[in-house]
Symmetry: C2
Subunit: 212 residues, 2 copies
């Protein structure tokens, strides 16, 4: 990387950390400049405006999310194994993000009543992930792992719902049992839709023992 | 009501509206004074500090929540009818609150990383409601409406999860199908736990047709 690119990446890194802690609205060029020991105009040289920086932070968050969760799941066989891998990766990420919070979830509450480019960017990322889950669920039907009349939209709604509850309970209530509940809920949910022949597929453990 | 009490109630009403729109953190004595066309010291005469006002707002929100949802549910028979009535009331309230948002949910994200009296107050209200749902679920087991080995904590976790998803999807994604999904999810959830003898109990429609 050239020097300019390195600086840009370092600013983005610091901004991502700040936004995870204080929310995207908490992100200002001044704060970033302070944390990088740079001048404000130095930051502006890389990001034309505060809004550009906020959007770049969302895109970087999404890039890492895909790299960490979506791409590895593609190595799993099409169908239920892949769907479970995606969900496991997502839940595991949440157990690690408990202290910083998930930008998609806190961002949704921050921007649900503030129209504009930042909300649009966040929304497109959230919807992209939702569609990826839906695609994987439909493939699980095609592969004969889930029943032909599975309501995939409903399945994904309930999967997403439990992740919202995990985030809520772990961060706000301070209840770490939420991970076990999401695990049990997912097994129950999938069992209600899976075909007889798919019973031979093992249930994926959503979160590895040491990450709990 | 005496004049002083009337003024206090009017301030609280305005504060509740402001907090629903801008969040509890958005609530300042200055804003309230402006919206009431009062002086700041006039507001201070009724609420000693901004924090006192924020806490009073949470308590008033809770009082109305109980009055609207919890108390009427007690008129339903103990067990599944009461549990369903509580849930129906909660979901219906959400469909009406879509424009202002639910203080418990937006408050959880606002305060999940801010310890202090406001977070404590919010948390105690959220936990009280959670316990009320849990108690109703356990009574449904006692009444023979749900299977003896029903994991009531798990049931309530999944019920709460879908309400979080309803709030998220309706407000952030703008997807009004969430109400149908929560309805279908609740039927599926309860069906997986209910006893044969309770099949005669009708499923409660969570949200009346005209509120959708």
């Amino acid at each position: 990387m050239r020097k300019g690119e390195q600086t840009r990446a370092a600013i983005l890194d610091a901004a991502l950390e700040l936004a995870s802690r204080d929310g995207l609205e908490g992100l200002t060029i001044g704060l970033i400049a302070d944390s990088m020991q740079m001048s404000k105009s130095g930051v502006f040289a890389h990001f034309g405006s505060r809004e550009d920086l906020q959007i770049a932070v969302i895109q970087e968050y999404h890039r890492r999310f895909e790299e960490e969760i979506f791409l590895p799941s593609l190595e799993q066989p099409r169908g239920l194994p892949r769907l479970s891998a995606m969900y496991a990766g997502w839940v595991t990420r949440h157990t690690r993000e408990i202290d910083s919070g998930c930008m998609y979830i806190s961002g949704a509450v921050e921007y649900d009543d503030r129209p504009g480019p930042i909300r649009d960017e966040l929304l497109s990322m959230v919807v992209a992930w939702q569609k990826a889950l839906l695609r994987a669920a439909r493939q699980a039907v095609e592969e004969g792992h889930l029943l032909p009349d599975t309501d995939c939209e409903q399945l994904v709604f309930e999967m997403r719902a439990m992740v919202l509850a995990l985030h809520h309970d772990a961060r706000f209530i301070g209840d770490r049992h939420a991970v076990d509940r999401i695990e049990r809920g997912y097994v129950r949910l999938i069992d209600s839709y899976r075909t007889k022949s798919s019973k031979t597929l093992p249930h994926l453990r959503l979160v590895a023992g040491d990450a709990r």
